[in-house]
Symmetry: D2
Subunit: 119 residues, 4 copies
């Protein structure tokens, strides 16, 4: 995926609509969070099992919400001059250290405890 090209298209899209006045980092973080909740809404009353067996119609709605989350994420990265690819790479390395496989493997309890760790 060519993030740079997508960011450039979104930038032009916003420029043409004079939307930069609304696209402050603060507002974009809000929009991203709102889209993440619209995604969440599709799952709120489903069982774990049902959430793995979405109808085609529901899956298409979920897909669109995920695209919205992605678009606001790269727009915010653009505005803050953050390289998402580098950020993701570094975070995966960090996570591997934070959750060593031999320590967290297997039990829900351990997993949850680690996840609750505020560090």
């Amino acid at each position: 995926m060519d993030i740079d090209a997508l960011q450039k298209r979104f930038r032009q899209f916003a420029d043409e609509r004079d939307w930069n006045q609304f696209h402050t980092p603060k507002n974009l973080a809000m929009a991203l969070s709102v889209e993440a909740s619209e995604l969440l809404e599709h799952f709120q009353w489903l069982s774990a099992q049902e959430s793995s067996e979405l109808s085609e119609e529901k899956l298409n709605q979920v897909r669109q919400e995920m695209a919205d989350v992605f678009l606001y994420l790269i727009r915010l990265a653009d505005k803050l001059d953050i390289n998402l690819e580098d950020a993701v790479e570094e975070k995966m390395v960090l996570n591997a250290k934070k959750y060593p496989a031999d320590k967290v493997k297997g039990s829900a309890k351990k997993y949850t405890d680690y996840q609750d760790d505020p560090s």
Copy 2:
């Protein structure tokens, strides 16, 4: 960015930790939403102006939260067998139709009205 390769790494990461039992689409949508809110939290008391002038320390924290959002997003896409790149492309085309530049350009009011449009 090679989404497939990142998804494969995250899949292996979760497999090694026996985390697939927790990574239902429902739970991943929750985790994504929680991370989006952790991102939002950094901006909640800032003015629009301040949100564009983050300190290096704050910017680094924001960068890590954005990586977390991205990682859960591609993990969820993997679990639902959604091609994010195609989804984003289609959404950008949809948005161009939904918000024609000549109609929404310029005023906050028009923008807001369009954004509130539930269609």
Copy 3:
């Protein structure tokens, strides 16, 4: 519960700290959403069953997050001059009309369809 008295206390609390400059409705809505996500975080990896059997420690954390949500809610209501009690009463009447017991009773599918209804 004496909402007016709580709002008065929170108002005084904010006044003494010179926090009104931060407590715009926009920022308070953000803070409320962030607290709701902190509440959500406690449940994200739990099964439905586990979420009904919280440990005393976890329950206490959940309780505090719920208090935070409540406090920002009444603070926002105060700032917008909204009578929460009246709003809740009207919404319960609306909901009774929107979800007639004889139509939505029993099946998850019906419930979900109704919940998805954007009206």
Copy 4:
């Protein structure tokens, strides 16, 4: 406000619709978070100033979202057997200790630093 009476009404409302199967604490926490985001959505593109000058129509929409947040909050409290009134009282006392007026008064920076404090 008579929280007990409201909880009893909501309990009966859910019973009549056979909704207890969906109203696990986990799902209710999700629903609460989703409603908080629907509330947030109304503010996402507004300036701080505009968020204090909502139109009557917008204010009515905001009012309904706030009622939804409140209703899921008391429903969750009912399911977890949490006394919201006591929780709120304790949290206000805690906050007074956590943010001493003489220390946090006046500057945004101090306020933000305190708010970021994970303790």
